[in-house]
Structures are given as C-alpha cells and as structure tokens.
Amino acid sequence: MQLLLEQLTNGLTIGSFYALVAMGYSMVYGVMKLINFAHGDFFTLGSYLGYTILVIGSGWVTRTFGLWGGIALAILGAMLGLALGGLLVERVAYRPVYKAGRLPLVVSALGASIFISNGIMAVWGPRFQAYPQTGIPSGTLRLFGEIYIPDIKLVTLLVSLTLMAVIYFIVEKTLFGAAVRATALDRETATLMGINFRSIILFVFSVGPALGALAGVFAGLNYSRIIFNMGWGYGLKAFTATIIGGIGNIPGAMVGGLLLGLLESLFEGFVSGAWKNVFVFLILIVILIVRPTGLIGEKVAEKV
C-alpha cells in the first residue's frame, strides 16, 4: 500500500513534466499542424536559463531573495526568456516558410532544434551541469510515517497542476480559448469569422515554450543534473503523451502526460525497470490501434 502510494506520487511528478511539455506540442500542432521538433530544446534551454540565474555570483539570487524567492525568480526568468525565445523562433524559422507547405516547415523545425541544442552546447559546454545544492530545497515531507515526499516534488506537482488548470480554463472556458480552438479546427473559416490569427500564434508560441521552460527548471531542481541534449528524451516522451491524449487537443495532452508518467512508474516499480520503455511504447501502439485519434481525440477527428 505504502509502495503503491509512493509510486503514484512518483508517477504524477514525472507525468506533470511530460504534461507540461506535451501541452506545448499540442498547442502548436493544433494551430499550425506542425510537429514542433524544437520544443524539447525549449525545455532544455529553459532549464539552462534557470540554472544560470541560480549560479550567477555563486548563488547571489538565493542569498538575496531566499531559497524559494530564488527558485521563483529562476522560474519566472526562464519562462519569460522562453516566451520571447519561442516568438523569435516562430518569426525567424517558421513564419518565412509557413506558406511553403508542411514539409519545409517540418524541416525548418528540425533545423531550429539542432540550432538550439548545439547553441546550448557551445555556450554552456558539452558536460553535465548540476543545479547548485544551495539553491535546491532539501526538505522532505513525511506522510503516515513511511512515505517520503521531497518538498520540491510537492511544489513541482502543485505548480504544474495549477498551471494546467489555468490553461485548461483559458482554452475551454473563455472567448479567446474558443478562438484558439476554432483556429485549430479550421483556420480559414476561423479567420473569415474575424479571429485574428496572429494573436493566436502569439499565444501558442509564447505560452507553449514558457510551459516547456517551467518543466525544464523543475527538472533541474528535482534531479540537479542537466545536459544540452536532454530535451530529446523528454521531447520524445512528451510527444508520445501528446499522441496518447489526442494531438492538437490541450486537455488531451495533460491527460496523456499524467497517464504516461503513472504507467511508467507503476511498471518500473512493480514489474521491471529494464522493460519499461518497451512497455510504454507497446501501450502507445495499442492505443493507436484502438483509438487512432488518441484518448480524447474526437474533436479533432471531426475535421476531414
């Protein structure tokens, strides 16, 4: 029982990373029908920005604003940086080729991905970097005597779930959200109805990367080890989560991410760690066979 509870918390934490990154994939896909390969690298870049904020002046931010103040600043800085970065990438790499069709767009996305990850390697070096021990909370919450949950894990979970709720509210309950969904359904008609396509693009290319950056900083705070190519692994998993949930569908990405994290943890904890990825991708295949549009994919499926 205790083991099960622990594995559930583990799964939810990993799942919230996947969900945050997956939401960015899904937003961009929904609006532009583009699989944004650079998204995993937004995650990495966010992580490195947070790292830089925490290590400048050998922990000046933490000393001045306190442990949690430092973390909040690292998160805000990284999210802001990546919101701007996302818009820049859209302007430089995607907008010029947007009219050329989907294939050039995908190639351009791959190019952006390689550019960002090699840029990170050039600036911060090819070796592992570690988030400073002084900037990371080391406390642990003990529940029912035997269940240990590190503070940072709890914060990760709470912040991620709150943000997901906020995004869910914006996308599903507001007029602007309706515009985003309408654009995802049919861009031409939505534009004809007076929806400003550029403002939608602005939204997905600033919020998506910012969510990725948040996940990146949390990954650094949780595991301290970061490396320039880590976005690839997270990106792949998050993309899988997007597919599981139904690509283009934002609540679907959240559900897919959390579900993927839970499945991984439970399988690894109770069956075998070595076979984890085999199992996860087997599930993906099964879901694609049974529900080709993903778990919550009906809305997108309406479109022919």
Binding site: N10, F128, T140
Partner: protein, 387 residues
C-alpha cells in the same frame, strides 16, 4: 547540354589515376604519431577531457626525456562521442591517417567496434577505461591491449568484500543493461553464488535501470521497500548520482556500494556531499592514492599544468597506455605493429604511473589490485579496505 562522350570520360579518369600514382610519396614524418581516441562529447565527455589532458602530460614527460627512437611524440586526437557508432568513425579516421599505434578508448561497448577495426587494419590499440571481460576473452584480438583491469576482478572483490568485510546478509545488485554494467553485475552474482548456496547471504534484488533518464523514483521506492544491507550499483556515475540522491530523499538509509566508474568529481557535484558521505566505492587505485616515483612525477606535472589532479584513474591509464606504447616502440626499434604487439606481451621491466606495465598473452594488464574507498563527512575519499 551535350553529353560528354564516354571515351573522353574514360581518358580523363585514366589520366588522373596515372597522375595520382606519380605523386611523390609524402615525406617520412619527423615525429612518432600516436592516436588517442577519447569521448570528448556525449555522456563521458568529462572522462574524455581528462584522458586528453593526462596523455598530453605523459607525452610532455616522455618528450623531455628524448621521445621515442630519437623522435618527439605527437598525439592525434579523435572524438568517439561516447557511443559505438561514432567510435567506429573515429577509428576509421585514425586508421586512414596511417597511424600504427593508438590509445582507445573509454567504455567497453564504445571500444569494442573500434578494437575490431584497429585489429583488422593491424593497428596496435590500447584501451584505458574498458573493463568488460569479453573484450579480451571472447575472441583473441592480436593487436588489442588494455592498461585497465577486468570486471571480473572487481566482481570477485565485491563478493568477498560484501560478505566477509561488510557482513552483508541481504544484497541488491542493480545494473544498466549495457555491456559494462551488466558484465560486472553478472560476475558479481556468479561470485556471490557460493555464499548464497551456503545460506550466508541472500540476493534480494537483481534488475536493471534505463540509463540516461532523470527520474528513478520508481526503482528507488522499490529498493527502499526491499531495504537491502548492501546496494551494489554497477554502471556509470550520472545514474549513480541521481539514484543515490533520490534514494536518500526517499528515506533509504542502507549502504550504497558503487563500482569503479562511480566515484568521480561529477558524481560528487550532482549528488552533493550530504548524499555521498558514507557510500563505499570499489576501484582500482585512485590517482590521489598512487605513490610510485613515476606517479608522483606525473601528478606533479599534471597539477602544474592543470591545477588539479586527473578526475579518475581511467585518465591515468590512458597516460600509461602511452607509456606502454612508447616503451614497446622503443624496444621493438621500429613503428611496426607486429613487433610492437610482440614486445607488449613480453616486456617485464617497464614502470608506469600505475605500477609495472605487463600484459598477458590476450592483452590484459597483469596484477591490478582492487580497493574499497569511502566518502568521509567532508565528501573526500578515504581508503576503507584493505588498509
């Protein structure tokens, strides 16, 4: 556009071939060139960098003493990016430059494809951080040697150490499903078997993790539930650091024993002092504990140049790979692969930084001792056994 008639094409091709054949032969190089294949990027980038620095220092020391065969030594570096695919490319690159002797490489699965290529092209290669048994025992590679030890030595040491010194009753063994880690784990299990049969000890966990991930909390919860006396981890430092950190956060208080690729500065940096203190690590003699005259000379030169000691023993083995090659070339009297390989097998009087450089018929280093080190409260390694 008009097509170029075939006859002219053939003529041009023949002519250019003939011209190429007439090119004067490149002049005999004025230096003794030795290759160094190292992981400069990828997961083991730190090891690669230390290896390059160590070999550089060893080269300078040798050159100061007059070099080899009266010529200065020149090192040509190729990056194998910590993976087998790029390893083959790096090997091709060094082979195509006409090298006869190379130092290659760190990591057993990375070294294997390169060793095959070097062997097929009659290039003597000396590994420095590849300890899988199969590299020398699965098939004979006449031109392959290694200055590092072999995994089964470590596994044998572990079984004896865990049961007889630590008095463990319940042991967990965790590997990463890669060549090196799985090899150590399998051998450790094999050497534990007599103790298990005698009812002295129980193997309570034997499984693998997926390398390259960040969150191991699922495995860690499992370890905590099983609560072994000794948790032996047989793979590399990035995963070891995360596992141990997450295990301590989850409330596991048992003893963590790492194998020889765990205790590095990177491990200390990622996990932090609070996490690593009290953990024990098996290793071939670590750089700071070497006390041969050759080691002291090397460490002083290294410190003067880089203001620190080499981060791991493997980098020092890379330096010793150069020492062994230089000695063998000197003794053989020529840069001839067959003569060098033959000399490597028979030489008995060459002193390296890590002790005498002697090799078996199959290319393994002779007489590598093993030690257990423990991190003290200041996060520094101390000798634990045998004292």
């Amino acid at each position: 556009m008009k097509r170029i008639p075939g006859v002219i094409l053939v003529l041009v091709l023949t002519l250019s071939l003939a011209l190429a054949a007439c090119q004067p032969k490149p002049a005999e190089p004025q230096t003794i060139q030795i290759g160094l294949q190292a992981p400069l990027t990828g997961d083991f980038a730190a090891e690669g960098q230390w290896a390059v620095q160590s070999v550089e220092v060893a080269k300078e020391l040798l050159n100061k003493k007059g070099g080899v065969l009266g010529k200065q030594i020149e090192i040509i570096v190729a990056d194998d990016a910590s993976n087998p695919k790029d390893s083959a490319l790096a090997a091709q690159k060094l082979i195509s430059q006409g090298l006869k002797a190379v130092i290659a490489s760190y990591g057993s699965s990375v070294t294997a494809p390169a060793a095959d290529l070097y062997d097929a092209n009659k290039v003597v290669s000396v590994g420095y951080g590849c300890t899988a048994v199969r590299l020398t025992m699965e098939k004979q590679r006449p031109y392959f040697f290694r200055t590092s030890g072999r995994d089964d030595t470590q596994s044998e040491f572990f079984a004896k150490f865990a049961v007889e010194v630590l008095g463990a009753k319940r042991i967990a063994i965790m590997h990463d499903n890669q060549d090196y880690g799985r090899g150590v784990a399998e051998d450790a299990k094999k050497f534990l078997q007599p103790y298990i049969d005698a009812g002295q000890v129980e193997l309570v966990y034997y499984d693998a993790i997926t390398p390259g991930e960040s969150d191991y909390s699922a495995v860690v919860s499992q370890i905590k539930e099983i609560n072994p006396d000794v948790w032996f981890f047989t793979a590399y430092y990035p995963e070891a650091a995360l596992l141990l950190k997450q295990a301590r956060q989850a409330g596991y208080t048992g003893l963590f024993v790492g194998n020889n690729s765990v205790p590095t500065p990177e491990f200390e940096k990622i996990a932090g002092i609070d996490v690593i203190k009290g953990s024990i690590h098996l290793n071939e003699p670590m750089p700071q504990f070497l006390n041969y005259p050759e080691s002291i000379e090397f460490m002083e030169a290294y410190k003067a140049k880089y203001n620190e000691l080499p981060g791991s023993i493997w980098a020092v083995y890379a330096a010793d790979a150069l020492n062994a090659l230089a000695a063998a070339i000197q003794k053989a009297g020529a840069l001839d692969p067959d003569a060098i390989a033959q000399t490597m097998r028979t030489m008995t009087d060459v002193k390296g930084i890590t002790g005498p450089l002697m090799f078996t018929e199959r290319g393994d280093r002779k007489n590598i001792p093993y030690y257990a080190y423990i991190y003290n409260d200041q996060g520094q390694l101390e000798l634990y056994y045998p004292k």
